[in-house]
């Protein structure tokens, strides 16, 4: 299971890449593996939207489940991955790269303290059943 060291993680399997005040959000390798073949992705926020911690920002549908993607920190949406809905399989093949979902500006960086680092997330995943 791939868990890049430079990212932050949630216990609901979202990852964040922080670059100054800009964050990028996606779902992890663990998530795509659990979901199995992803057939549909819908990002439910738009550029300019204000998002609050725990807001629903996207929905992923696989052959066996529909899962919500929630943003773990607050911000303002800068960019949405427009091509992802056309190629949902990228969530399976490149979850940390081309399958990024939204880029947003952080409005409360202190909220990042609640997230796990790579090691904590790896430990967390090992305690979970499948």
């Amino acid at each position: 299971m791939n868990v890049p060291a430079n990212l932050k993680y949630t216990n609901s399997d979202e990852w964040l890449f922080i670059d100054g005040k800009v964050a990028t959000l996606g779902v992890t390798d663990y998530a795509q593996d659990q979901l199995s073949d992803v057939v549909f992705v819908e990002v439910t926020v738009e550029k300019g939207d204000s998002i609050k911690k725990n807001d629903h920002v996207a929905t992923i549908e696989s052959v066996k489940a529909a899962a919500d993607v929630n943003v773990p920190v607050s911000g303002k949406v800068l960019e949405v991955n427009e091509s992802l809905p056309n190629t949902p399989e990228l969530v399976n093949s490149d979850p940390f790269g081309k399958a990024w979902m939204i880029k947003f500006e952080l409005t409360d960086p202190s909220e990042l303290d609640n997230l796990m680092d790579a090691k904590a997330y790896t430990d967390y995943c090992s305690t979970r059943g499948h």
């Binding site: 549909f40 819908e42 439910t44 929905t59 549908e61 696989s62 066996k64 489940a65 529909a66 919500d68």
Partner: protein
């Protein structure tokens, strides 16, 4: 009745939901109603029961005994014998929901064909496996539109020329939604206006505009300019339609409809007592993940052979849970099958012929009824097989008189539109012969002279 839970399992379940005893689950039911005394007569034999039921049923007069000129949402059409014959085959008649595709290919293929026929007939990309009836299908259009805009557009515009019961059902479904604003346009008019009247009410708060085609009063309007206006404002257009009419007139899909719904009862399903009927729901490909109901898809099995399955099931609430947009995950399988058999038997040309017969006979009827002193046909638009007949006396009186002559008269429009008191909605189908229509005219003549 066998209940598989052990007492300790029952206790564990009660504890987990925070309830002390089974009795406590019924606190909402007042004590005096919990075990009502049922005043049932003693049991009787099958022979006696059959006799009793026979007596009840023979005290009814149906479209089989009366000349039927009543429409308003449920229509008397000919049902080819082949429909019932195939429908009653045990493999179809007793088949359950096709959750296990490996043993349900017959059912699944039939539903797939139904979906295809409906999509073709309505001019849309995709159809679901059906709903309970036209009214609930219309309500589901409202639900879908609301969720499509994520509640940001709380407005629904209903034409008053949509079936009043369908409007009521849509309101029942949606009245609890946050900020919902359902407006019915045209109720004050003497005769409900035409679809373009709705344009002035459409704005950026509107999620959905709903019209009927042919409308409740039988009239046909070109919906193209309305569709354009609806789309200009970024809203969706739902059209409630009659499948027989589509054998003759332009499909809503060709005029810009986003959703097409309606009642499939005219397709090989008897009138019965108002049901069971068949709702259909068709839409554009881009909305397929937002629609309610079952969807059957065509695919290939592990050996590469064509097969059918229930698909896109992640829309439904047993997978999506509370995020599902509707709680409907069923369909009217047997009735969808009846409609499919009907359409297959009559074919494209047969459907067109049936529609044409309805059209021609209705226009003949309108012509001769218009001539009867005291009666006049309101015609401000082309119509399909229903028209408004202005009457010299209350409709109830006329229908009582007609019934004495074994004629089932038209719908009393005064019930739904006070401005149309003493107006009757007359329906004529291929089941009415010229003689039937002439007879109706002669009986109505008597009323004029009373």
């Amino acid at each position: 009745m066998f209940i598989p839970h052990t007492p300790s399992e029952t206790e564990e379940m009660l504890k987990s939901i925070g309830v002390k005893s089974l009795e406590d689950l019924f606190t909402d039911v007042p004590k005096k109603y919990r075990f009502p005394k049922l005043d049932l007569p003693a049991g009787i034999t099958e022979m006696e029961a059959a006799g009793e039921l026979n007596d009840y049923s023979s005290s009814n007069e149906s479209a089989k005994d009366l000349l039927c000129f009543l429409g308003a949402g449920a229509y008397h059409h000919y049902i080819p014998a082949g429909v019932d014959n195939l429908l009653r085959r045990g493999e179809f008649y007793t088949a359950y929901t096709p959750y296990q595709p490996e043993i349900a290919q017959g059912t699944l293929q039939a539903i797939f064909e139904f979906q295809t026929l409906i999509a073709n007939l309505t001019g849309m990309d995709v159809s679901n496996a059906s709903h309970y009836d036209g009214a609930t299908a219309t309500a589901e259009a409202g639900v879908m539109a609301y969720h499509h805009f994520r509640g940001k557009r709380p407005g629904i515009i209903l034409s008053s020329a949509v079936h009043p019961q369908y409007r009521e059902v849509l309101c029942s479904y949606l009245c609890g939604y946050e900020n919902i604003n359902i407006q019915t346009i045209g109720e004050d008019f003497n005769v409900p206006g035409n679809p373009d009247d709705l344009a002035a009410h459409i704005n950026k708060e509107t999620a959905l505009v709903v019209v009927q085609y042919p409308d409740f009063f039988g009239r046909i309007f070109d919906l193209t300019s309305l569709a354009e206006k609806v789309h200009e404002e970024g809203a969706l257009l739902a059209v409630v339609t009659n499948p027989i009419a589509l054998g003759l007139i332009k499909p809503p899909g060709a005029m810009g409809a986003d959703i097409v719904v309606g009642e499939g009862q005219p397709l090989g399903i008897p009138l019965s007592y108002g049901g069971p009927y068949l709702g259909f729901f068709a839409t554009k490909k881009e909305f397929v993940r937002k629609i309610a109901g079952r969807l059957v898809g065509e695919t290939t099995d592990a050996s590469g052979k064509r097969g059918y399955v229930l698909t896109l099931t992640a829309r439904e609430q047993h997978i999506r849970r509370d995020k599902a947009t509707s709680n409907i995950c069923t369909n009217q399988g047997l009735l969808a099958l009846a409609a499919t058999i009907y359409l297959s038997l009559v074919g494209k040309s047969g459907l067109k012929q049936a529609a044409n017969l309805c059209y021609q006979k209705a226009h003949y009827a309108a012509e001769i009824l218009n001539f009867i002193p005291g009666f006049s046909v309101l015609s401000d638009a082309p119509f399909f097989h229903e028209f408004i007949l202005k009457c010299p006396v209350p409709v109830e009186e006329i229908n009582t008189h007609l019934l004495e002559h074994d004629i089932l008269g038209g719908y009393d429009l005064g019930k739904d539109c006070p401005a149309l008191t003493n107006h009757m909605l007359v329906c004529v189908t291929e089941m009415n012969s010229k003689d039937d229509i002439d007879y109706l005219a002669s009986v109505l003549q008597e009323v004029a002279h009373d």
